[in-house]
Amino acid sequence: MIKLSNVSKEYPKRGFALRDVSFQIQKGEFAFLMGHSGSGKSTTLRLIHMADRPTSGEVRVTGYSSDKMPDREIWKVRRRVGCVFQDFRLLPGRSAQENVSFALEVTGAPRKTIQPRAQRLLSQVGLAPKAGALVHEISGGEQQRVAVARALANDPFVLLADEPTGNLDDRATRGIVELFWDLNARGMAVLMATHDLELVRRYPNARVLELDQGRLVFDSNPT
């Protein structure tokens, strides 16, 4: 489903962020992507989301290859890959429901389906009661749930999460990761970047990948 083959990424002046990284994520897998700050976690996720292209090697996402994908077709990848971040990246001044509806609207969902679908997504992340609340008036954990609901708008097969709990306290962190496991139980693959070792230890069923200075140095479950 996701396949990185000998992927390197070099930033001009900064040198290599990734060196010769290869791994695959299968349908329905749950994996943590670990590593110190600057080890290349975000870069890896950006390459999978095709926000950037590898300097060498190939990233494949479902049928799409980083080698052959023209810029104007990248939206196709984006609809198959959901994304959440440490800083949520919600639209301020709008309600939870409006943030989710926005994603549906701009990806061409039929008008009549938008409202009910946004509501369903919000109840899926356990936020139905706060659907009408403005996003800056709810807690960080709740904001991250809105972001997850938004990421699910186009029914992706995988959720990429870049330190999604970095801004959250312990309780909220556990809530978000539990939500990921819920989604995973319903067939969604999850790839979550984190440097929180304690958190990772709590979920021994998950696969663990570790990056160090741009190299993949550990894979608990190589395929």
């Binding site: 939206w75 196709k76 609809r79 994603a103 701009v106 008008r111 938004r150 186009n154």
Partner: protein, 284 residues
Amino acid sequence: MYSIREALSAFKRAPLLTGLSAAMVGLALYVVGLFGLAAFNLGLALTSIEERVEVVVYLRDDVRQSEIDLALAELADIPDVARVRYVSKRDALERAQQDLPEFSELFGGADVNPLPQSLEVELRPGSRTREGVERVAADAGKYPFVEDVRYGQEWVDKLFTLRRIGAVSALVLGAAFFAVAALIIGTALRIAIFARRDEIYVMRLVGATNGFIRRPFLFEGAMAGMLGGIMAWLATWATYRGVYAFLFAVAWIPGVWVALGLAAGIAFGVLASGLAIRRYLREV
């Protein structure tokens, strides 16, 4: 739906800038519109002048009637010629007395008639050009009994030159205004993109197509272009009314030209914002 709503909200957010874009497009189209008005009326004038283009062949007094008949027949046979009319000395005098009352005061009592007899050669519509006139004039000038050949072609030439000068200056001035309009539309667009950068980011994140992201901005360009077109239309109309009322009678340009002008404004707005967005959307 989304696009139109967004374009309208962009207008509400920065009405001054959208207004300025529209005004610049309007100014550019106004210049073109003024030229259109002038060109259209010059064209009308040219046509009516051309209808009156004819070659007048003045004959010596001592020419024989048989020679006149021959010239009449031969000139009428030239392909450029529609009709040849003979004007006798008496006809010429009568006409002059009718047209110019002072003339009869001067010559009314005299026995001598100073006016020459002539042949008035009327040209076919396709031949009322400089070349056509010169061909006929040259042929007519070959007869030994011809005193002089006259034609009013200089006038037509002058009008044509005037129209060409007008076209060039309108083109240069119009192009300059269009360039400024494109710059302002580009700036307006950059500000609109900046104001909506969060939304654009999220649109990209969740997989909106480039076309979808671009559309509201193109709508905005189209709106500015259309507003500009309407402004130019009104300004040209006001100028037309003003000239008509205070200077001289002119005709309003054909409706198709107005429609073309509006369409050009819209097309320009879309094109200018399309180009600008290409440059800036990558940086968001």
